[in-house]
Amino acid sequence: MTIAIPTFNLSSIGPWLTLTVAAILILLLDALSPKGRKAYFPQLSLIALAVAALQTWWLWGQSGTDFARMVFLDNFAFYFYLIVILGTTLTVLISRHYLEEWGKNLGEYYALLLFATVGMMLMAASNHLIMLFLGLEIMSIAIYVLAGLFREDARSNEAALKYLVLGAFSSAFLLFGMAFLYGATGGNLFIGELAGKIKEALPLTKPLTLLGLALLLVGFGFKVASVPFHMWTPDVYEGAPTSITAFMSVGVKAAAFAAFARIMFAAFPAFVLEWHMLLWVLAVATMTIGNVVAIAQTNIKRMLAYSSIAHAGYLLVALVAANQLGAVSIIYYLLAYTLMNVGAFGVVILVGRKKDSYLNIYDYAGLGFQHPVLAAAMSVFMFALAGIPPTAGFVGKFYIFSAAVQAGYIWLAIIGVMNSLVSVFYYLRITVLMYMRPAEADLGPIAFTPGLVAALIITCAGTILVGVFPGWFYDLAVASVKIFPAL
């Protein structure tokens, strides 16, 4: 018997290959190089990420599938590649000094970070549910480990264990949902073909498909930290190393939303009413609980965790809108969110110092007088997260709520806007503390290392530029959602 291997083009998964090879190279160099000569891993990771971004740029504009229809080649995936690469690049930049403080500047850290990035790309581009699941697991397992990187720290252990147990549980839900879809569609799991198969078998398999859809929603709801699947978020975000918290809040969210949006838009046009209704409720609950509980937080990492839940709620609004503008606003908002949130976590790392000694929000009192530039940067991020012009956060929210109005979900838009008014309180409280309260104690010197400064400059400038000149990014996003004819 001869086996004919289908033809494929390696360049269509070029970015994955680059990052995988770089990660393995880092692991090998880590094992082979002598002690004390390992400072070059961040640079190596940055080079690999730059090459991957370049390869993505070359791929831009291609369409179709490859590897026996396993991988989508389309701008939707490529845009998310770029967002994820940006998130990882910024994470690498803010990591080094922080890890050195903890004595954990390991090669494995950067390798796992790159592996997780590969997993995220897989999620954005997979055309088959098994590929999607593999991507999700590669990403998740790498992040379970990274969350528990500080093994001596009890909170880091708690974060890793909690995320692992609940994450595995949610993966089981996702897999169970896929199994039902497999049965309901007669054994077809290609995302691009699911819609047709589901419609074909609809009279017979409606309950089964609905059950599969519900279980998929649970699985994705967990990964994007949506209420009521959000209980892990504050503890994990607080306990994990701050650089990993930043990575989780932007990378995992972007990848999960990429896969979530693609499946919902491409595979379930026959169940539009059902999933719109479900997600409407989830979106309202997620926004409201995230924002209201964030007000009560005094630990900055916990506050940003609840803020991240609230932002998942805004993104769900765009998903419910399910029109072209909605899809565009998901992409645009995730780009803006990556910039402003990693920026905020960069400031948290700088102010935290000495193994995260200063994480209380009252530690920010007086920062505006002692470190005016740092405080200004933090203010930009807080304004952006609150959605105040002229930042990218404002434009993103504007797109999201216009999409909801366009789709006829007026009340959803109203609830969303009210929620972002609530959020202004806790974001601006940080700014007020920085500028209008005297420092309770001398803040002491802050070590401005090149990586962190570069990350803050990129995120700060990016947050403002993407907000002031949204046109180019908007057009790119429009070009990349053309693949969903149903919108």
């Binding site: 018997m1 086996i3 004919a4 291997i5 289908p6 494929f8 998964i13 995988t20 393995i24 692991l27 002690k35 590897f67 026996a68 229809r69 396993m70 991988v71 954990k104 390991l106 494995e108 390798a111 796992l112 592996f115 590969v118 997993g119 897989l122 088959h128 098994i130 590929m131 593999l134 991507g135 697991e137 590669i138 397992i141 790498a142 379970y144 480990v145 528990g148 990187l149 093994r151 890793a160 049965g183 309901a184 007669g186 078998a201 017979l204 398999t205 409606k206 309950p207 089964l208 609905l210 059950l211």
Partner: protein, 166 residues
Amino acid sequence: MQQLFFLALAAIALISGVLVVFQTHPLRSALWLIVNFFAVAGLYLLAHAEFIAAIQIIVYAGAIMVLFLFVIMLLNLRRPEEAPPGYRLGQKLAAVALAALSAVVLVYGFFQAQIPLAKETTVSVGNTESIAQSLFTNYLLPFEVTSVLLLVAIVGAVILSKSKLK
């Protein structure tokens, strides 16, 4: 005949599955889980998936369960002295109600979805050869990607358990 085997195996799988959950001692749970794995392997055989059945026994009942038992013995778990904290009545009711609801949806769904299956035209669906065939053609990329997944898990395990990181 086949139906008889199916019903027997399914009953064993279900009962052992329930027993896994209701044991207080983890060792007994693990042992019941082995019974469950064997019953499920039998179900795979009935579905002409002999390769999967063999893998189920070798990998799950063999390797993974031995690992489980080793870990349980190393941790030296004893019967807990006091009963674990119970759940509130509301939680119990919600859990039972949701489980019952999904059971109803499942049963209803399966009775409605009686898709006429192709009458066993090929006996080779689940055998080793056809699995290899699809693994190295259509599923080539997922197959390769799995290796990355395993590598990540290995590296992660080393980081979390190595005695001294430099």
